[in-house]
Symmetry: C2
């Protein structure tokens, strides 16, 4: 078994309203910053042991499908790195 | 001016309790997944126009300092990419 960290990034699908991001953008603009757009995402860093990077990615994928992301409104991607 | 996307990742400092991450980890374990650790982070993707990648990073840095991160409990890092 090898130690991996799988990074799962969960984003709202294009077209899904994100009032929190809008509020953040407006607050930054009120502070004088100019922005074209602001998007927010949630990141989960999962430390797990697996036979291979592929097996770690498969497991992270399953965790995203079952709990971390809501497929109706979210897209997600998974990146796997070896953990020291 | 060039179009950039600055990605600001905001993490809790080491040692700061993260009950949300703990709950998420426990829920995954209840579903049968084995995990060594789970950490969560917030990501803000900022689309902005700037003279250079360095200027874009400086501005994203300032936004993190002033609003996106709380320096008492958060660390953050900034990555800048050219936007198409």
């Amino acid at each position: 078994m090898t130690a991996f960290t799988a990074t799962v990034t969960v984003r709202l699908k294009h077209g899904v309203l994100d009032p929190e991001a809008e509020t953040t953008q407006r607050s930054l603009e009120r502070l004088g910053f100019e922005l074209e757009d602001l998007r927010s995402a949630d990141v989960f860093e999962l430390d797990l042991d697996a036979e291979s990077a592929e097996a770690a990615a498969d497991r992270a994928d399953e965790m995203a499908e079952r709990l971390l992301a809501n497929p109706t409104i979210h897209d997600y991607d998974v990146e796997v790195d070896r953990r020291e």
